[in-house]
């Protein structure tokens, strides 16, 4: 058990050292730059990401993203960097914050509302159509009629 623990500690340690010491490989930077580029809006053409846009500014922004990745910035730091300069607008996916609650939750709320309304309505309908039991006099008369019917057959 002790040996297992020791091995685990060594493994974890080497893992963390790897993450800290090794500069990100070019392939990794490329992949992360793509990922970030797809999430940032090209502020010139507006409905394209900087990854797909041909605008010169988008090209410069792509270069900038790669430079910052090489310098060791995290993806979040880079997105934050762009947000400080261009505002939330630069993010293609709106962040979840107070002024976007309506945007994020309205569809679910409307859908939920419709479900609840529909459920209540159908329940009310079912309750309305349920038959009321016969009064005892009526029941007696009904039984008599049924007996008579049987005799005739």
């Amino acid at each position: 058990m002790k040996i297992f623990r020791f091995v685990l500690a060594v493994l974890l340690f080497s893992l963390s050292v790897n993450v800290l010491a090794q500069p990100a490989s070019e392939a990794e930077i490329e992949a992360r730059a793509k990922e970030i580029g797809r999430s940032l809006r090209c502020v010139v053409c507006q409905n394209q990401s900087i990854d797909e846009s041909d605008a010169p500014l988008a090209a410069d922004m792509r270069t900038l993203v790669r430079e910052r990745l090489r310098a060791g910035d995290s993806n979040v730091q880079i997105t934050q960097f762009m947000r400080e300069r261009y505002g939330d607008f630069v993010l293609l996916k709106p962040p979840l914050q107070r002024n976007t609650y309506i945007l994020w939750f309205a569809p679910a709320a409307v859908l939920g509302g419709v479900f609840i309304w529909y459920g209540l309505r159908s329940r009310r309908k079912r309750a309305g159509s349920a038959f009321t039991p016969l009064s005892s006099a009526a029941q007696k008369r009904f039984d008599a009629l049924m007996d008579e019917d049987k005799k005739i057959r």
Partner: protein, 179 residues
């Protein structure tokens, strides 16, 4: 005929959508929220346009009110505002810093030689380094920077005589009286 809430529902939905559009469509999607207002001018170190060896940084904005103008020889709208800048330069009311953005030195110098150079200093921002730090989305853009080096106003698009006299000049005069 009975008026019920249910019957009014389509009308209410129409009014709601109509109001949303009426407000939303009057907003220009190109006008991005200016992030940098009342924040210090970004730190930069870029070569001057006339001399690649001479580096210019943000310290030249300190101690005076400046008008920072992003332009380029490729920029058509810049030609429109250029006479306004020339007039400002002649009056000497404010220090003009030009940012020559995504340009070649040669083209920029020809452009300025032909039309005149209104700028007190021009930095050469070939790869949008300073432009991105300023949140620039297109040229021309104009910033007013106070004596402490803080951005106080941003104007997107070409500057006209009216914009200078009605908006920018009062602001500049105000900032002049600040310590």
């Amino acid at each position: 005929m009975k008026f019920t809430l249910k019957g009014l529902l389509p009308l209410l939905v129409f009014i709601a959508i109509g109001t949303a559009f009426a407000v939303g469509l009057t907003k220009d999607p190109r006008q991005l929220p200016p992030q940098l207002i009342d924040r210090p001018f970004p730190v930069f170190s870029l070569p001057a346009l006339d001399d690649a060896q001479r580096m210019v940084d943000e310290s030249l904005l300190l101690g005076r009110v400046s008008l920072v103008n992003v332009f380029g020889s490729w920029c058509v709208a810049c030609e429109f505002e250029h006479p306004v800048l020339m007039k400002l330069a002649a009056q000497g009311e404010v220090f003009l810093l030009g940012i020559d953005w995504r340009d070649t030195r040669e083209n920029a110098q020809i452009w300025l030689a032909r039309r005149g150079n209104p700028y007190g200093e021009i930095v050469f921002d070939e790869h949008s380094k300073l432009a991105v730090d300023l949140g620039v989305t297109g040229a021309p853009e104009t910033f007013i920077v106070d004596k402490k080096g803080q951005i106080r106003y941003k104007h997107i698009g070409p500057m006209s005589d009216e914009i200078w006299t009605d908006v920018l000049r009062p602001l500049v005069q105000n900032l002049e009286s600040e310590p």
